[in-house]
């Protein structure tokens, strides 16, 4: 990996931009694997577009 030079120490943290379903999942997985996560979302709540959906296919589950 060239961007982080061999003399720099790795940061054990990840920045996730976007708090929709993908951002949330990525943040959870990274955090649960032992990395500190900064999650940035521009709106006041996470959830993204999925939170606006009524039900989801093909199981007709509630999207909340």
């Amino acid at each position: 990996m060239e961007v982080i030079g061999s003399d720099t120490e790795f940061q054990g943290s990840v920045l996730v931009v976007g708090g929709g379903i993908a951002g949330m999942q990525a943040a959870m997985d990274a955090a649960n694997a032992g990395f500190f996560v900064h999650l940035v979302e521009r709106s006041p709540a996470i959830g993204g577009i999925m939170a606006r959906l009524d039900k989801t296919f093909p199981t007709n589950d509630c999207s909340m």
Partner: protein, 908 residues
């Protein structure tokens, strides 16, 4: 807004004088300038919209600041820049829905009854502006319900002329069908739903089944491109004009038209990408190779979700996990360096003590206290048995109250705590932490929800609310008296993984895990790695497969942390997450492998068609066989002057109702190759729906431009194939001209179905169920697409469902990421709220074994008793309900505790 202080009481929004358009509800209703986006928002904290706030704009008002009971509002708060150093970055900015405003022929600007799909989604939602009551937008005030709704597909997708988006948005066909089904459910009257489409692209797992159900249910599917929507201004509503397949023009009136608007990238996301110098493609999506689906052009920056191409939720979730895997791979050495563990005092043993219950009743500002007479509830609680201390708090959840609770637990020697406040869903863990901080077992805690279940529901009836609060407190107290401390054991875990299957998915998963620092055993049935990847020629983007697969296999074989077992198979599996013990058998004998997690990547197979003269005539081949012919440079391909492809051979029929997902793209790629090699050749594709979803649409357009002929056939009118010397004669009906044609083809390529491998035994050993079609079943189709229902077992690649290479790789990386969340744990925490079976009372009838959804209960045949594995038990209680003699005890919810609670409820 200080989110630490905000208690989401809602007073501010109630008093806020400024109303603004609610964008969450697609502008269909108004909200206040201080707001929560929606009722279930996380965090559930109010926010000020600075563009609309009167105080922030004009310096006056400030009503909310004065009213806020917790002093959470601070108008002096300013935007601040926070700098953080991070190891890697994941971009997941999502998409926005295409805005059809400019398209005059769809009359979106002119008629309220033409709505976009996201708007319709809010109209259907129970949490939306009409509370899920389906109303005609133009007649909402009068309560007029629609009788006929039309969906127009491909608005802002597959349309280069008007909106410049060549790609298919991949999700609209399914969401339109879903909306039609749900709309019919919501409507009190029979609702006529029609979907106008070009190709029905429902290629996902179980999607075609859903469509079949919709068809049976009466949703109409009309294969037509609607060219105009005209508001009639009369009761007729909207007039749709369109051309039917046979060329005749048709007209039909609808009350509401839903435009199935496609996905596009938000300009904000493009700016973000520019700032980070991440390359985007012509469509605005992140430029990524199908062979490394979540990597951007900048090392250390990864992307997932709709930002890398239009996709549905399960695929987004998969990619998100894949991105987490990729983003943490290179910084794996720094794992746990930025996180910290919690310190707690030693636990006090209270088992020999009589219950001493402390009750904390919360006012929740005025949320509870404004309705329920809290002092009266406090006095009542004092009279309850075993209660030794009762206290009223303004906010029981505040930090200073936590400290106070700890002091009181010590001072009054409390050994059970009841908090009467809001919902355990959000606050139980906080109070349990407080308990642990005071040295009490966290399971000696009980909550009574006197807010959501009481003060909010009976806001206008303080007497009833107070009475109910007492009932709820009594129920909690009688249950609390019976609570017992529950132990959680910490089991050590083996930090290694077993990957079954050495195809692209299996190798990718193995490599990702090894890069994360976890040793991997890779088991492959055949004598070499690569699987089907070795027979594929190139990816959807035209990259050659062979060097990639070769390179991948080499890296796997040479990786110090990967042990490859060729010509081996799994013959026995014991144990559970963290502690599996698997027997792998090869010609050399059996070997026991200990591992903490397992990834199943056993792939799928190409079916051998039983029709169209396959196996009887040398000109008839399958897709993969054609690939072999093309790769082998045999004269057979170059010499062919007429080549014909038949799609959906063995897919989407009665026997296999699913779509094999990759064949449309595969056949079109092969067709293009043949055309390139011999431009004079006539190439025909007989299809049912062309499913080049997402950006694969480009290939379809290329094929049409290069002169490949496409003809549609239906299941009722399948083509007829007969031998004609060295050629085969294929007869079919062209629905456009309504005439019979035949082609004497030198080569007939059958896009045969992809079928699951018959590995029920392996699935059974790992306790992973298969679905009706034989694919391995994930824990949740949307939200846990790579987890199996069994903890510590993951699936990826074709074993889960047919999918192209990029999706297989993403899913494999995702499986590695999910597996890493277990492998990085300190220990496996076992116990707590789990079921316990006393073998003296167990008759061994097996009812609990049959109902356990997590296969956590097994039958000890020698002793004839059921045994619960606490590492697998999730505490759902199904066994406790199924047992005829109430033998399984669900700790924390035992029969005795529940009966006490019921009696408490009825004691008034």
């Amino acid at each position: 807004m200080d989110t630490e202080k905000c208690i989401a009481c809602g007073l501010c929004a109630e008093k806020c004088p400024k109303k603004v358009t609610d964008l969450f509800n697609e502008g269909l209703i108004k909200r206040k300038a201080i707001y929560v986006p929606y009722a279930q928002a996380v965090p559930l904290k109010y926010a000020i919209d600075p563009e609309s706030c009167i105080y922030l704009q004009k310096g006056k008002c400030g009503a909310c600041e004065k009213l806020c009971p917790s002093g959470a509002i601070n108008f002096k708060d300013r935007e601040s820049v926070i700098e953080r150093e991070v190891g890697s970055v994941i971009l997941a900015p999502g998409f926005r829905s295409y805005d059809p405003s400019g398209l005059d022929f769809y009359a979106y600007d002119r008629s309220a009854d033409v709505v976009t799909a996201p708007e319709f989604e809010r109209m259907l939602s129970a949490g939306g502006p009409t509370a899920g009551h389906l109303l005609k937008p133009s007649g909402r005030a009068q309560g007029i319900e629609p009788e006929k709704i039309a969906w127009i597909q491909c608005v802002g997708s597959r349309d280069q002329n008007r909106c410049g988006h060549e790609y298919c948005s991949a999700v609209c066909c399914m969401f339109a069908v879903k909306q039609a089904v749900i709309a019919r459910e919501h409507s009190r009257r029979p609702l006529d739903c029609a979907i106008f489409f070009m190709d029905l692209r429902t290629q996902g797992k179980d999607f075609d089944r859903y469509v079949d159900r919709a068809k049976k249910d009466g949703v109409r599917f009309v294969r037509a491109r609607v060219h105009s929507i005209e508001p009639t201004g009369s009761e007729d509503g909207l007039r749709l004009r369109y051309a039917l397949e046979d060329g005749s023009l048709a007209e039909e009136a609808f009350d509401v038209v839903v435009l199935s608007t496609g996905l596009e990238i938000d300009p904000g996301a493009k700016t973000l990408a520019d700032r980070l110098t991440v390359d985007l493609d012509a469509d605005g999506f992140v430029k990524a190779s199908p062979l490394s689906p979540v990597c951007t052009s900048v090392p250390g920056i990864y992307a997932c979700g709709a930002f890398t191409g239009p996709k549905d939720i399960p695929h987004s979730v998969m990619e998100a996990s894949a991105a987490a895997s990729a983003a943490t791979e290179k910084i794996a050495a720094a794992r746990h360096t930025r996180t910290r563990a919690v310190q707690r005092p030693e636990q006090i043993d209270v088992r020999q003590e009589n219950p001493r219950i402390g009750v904390f009743v919360c006012n929740c500002g005025i949320n509870i206290g404004g309705v329920v007479r809290v002092p009266e509830v406090v006095r009542f609680a004092e009279t309850l048995p075993s209660v030794v201390y009762v206290e009223e708090n303004l906010f029981t959840c505040s930090q200073d109250t936590q400290d106070k609770i700890v002091d009181i637990i010590r001072e009054k020697r409390l050994n059970r705590v009841v908090v009467a406040a809001c919902t355990p869903r959000t606050h139980e863990s906080l109070f349990q932490e407080t308990m642990a901080g005071a040295g009490l077992n966290k399971y000696l805690f009980e909550m009574a929800n006197i807010r959501n279940h009481d003060s909010w529901v009976h806001a206008n009836d303080p007497d009833a609310a107070t009475k109910k609060a007492k009932d709820l407190v009594r129920m909690a107290v009688v249950k609390a008296a019976l609570l017992r401390p529950l132990d959680e054991d910490q089991l050590p875990l083996t930090r290694t993984a077993l990957v079954v299957g050495g195809g692209i998915a299996g190798m990718t998963a193995a490599l990702c895990l090894a890069e994360q620092g976890y040793p991997v055993d890779l088991v492959e049935r055949s004598d070499r790695l690569g699987g089907h990847g070795r027979r594929l020629l190139e990816t959807g983007a035209g990259e050659p497969m062979a060097p990639f697969v070769e390179g991948l296999a080499e890296r796997v074989v040479n990786h110090p942390d990967i042990r490859v077992h060729l010509e081996s198979s799994v013959t026995a599996v014991e144990g559970f997450v963290g502690n599996f013990n698997t027997t792998v058998t090869s010609a050399d004998g059996a070997a026991a492998i200990e591992h903490g997690v397992a990834v199943l990547a056993t792939g799928a197979a190409e079916s051998r068609p039983a029709e169209y003269l396959y196996g009887e005539h040398p000109a008839v081949v399958t897709s993969l066989e054609l690939d072999d012919l093309i790769a082998g440079e045999s004269g057979k391909v170059s010499a062919a002057s007429d080549v014909l492809f038949v799609q959906c051979v063995g897919s989407r029929d009665d026997e296999r109702p699913y779509c094999s997902k990759v064949c449309c793209t595969h056949s079109i790629q092969s067709a293009l190759k043949i055309k390139r090699r011999n431009p004079e050749a006539n190439v025909f594709v007989l299809y049912r729906d062309i499913r080049t979803y997402g950006q694969r649409e480009t290939l379809y357009n290329q094929a049409r431009k290069s002169g490949v002929h496409f003809f549609r056939y239906s299941l009722a009118n399948k083509p007829n194939v007969s031998a004609n010397g060295k050629k085969v004669r294929v007869e079919f009906i062209d629905p456009l001209l309504d005439r019979r044609f035949f082609v004497d083809a030198d080569l007939l390529c059958l896009a045969s179905a992809i079928v699951p491998r018959r590995n029920e035994e392996l699935a059974q050993m790992f306790k992973v169920p298969t679905d009706a079609d034989g694919w391995l079943l994930e824990a949740h189709q949307k939200l846990r697409p790579v987890d199996a229902a069994t903890d510590g077992v993951f699936l990826c690649g074709m074993a889960h469902y047919p999918k192209p290479v990029d999706e297989s790789i993403a899913q494999a990386k995702a499986a590695a990421a999910r597996a890493a969340t277990y492998l990085s744990m300190e220990a496996i925490s076992v116990g707590g709220i789990v079921s316990v079976i006393d073998e003296r009372d167990c008759t061994g009838c097996g009812a609990c074994v049959a109902v356990c959804p997590y296969s956590a209960i097994t039958m000890d045949q020698s002793r004839k008793t059921a045994v619960v594995n606490p590492a697998l038990c999730k505490g759902c209680g199904a066994c406790a309900a199924a047992c005829p003699s109430e033998t399984p005890k669900l700790m924390g919810f035992t029969h005795a505790q529940l009966y006490a609670q019921i009696k408490g409820a009825l004691a008034a």
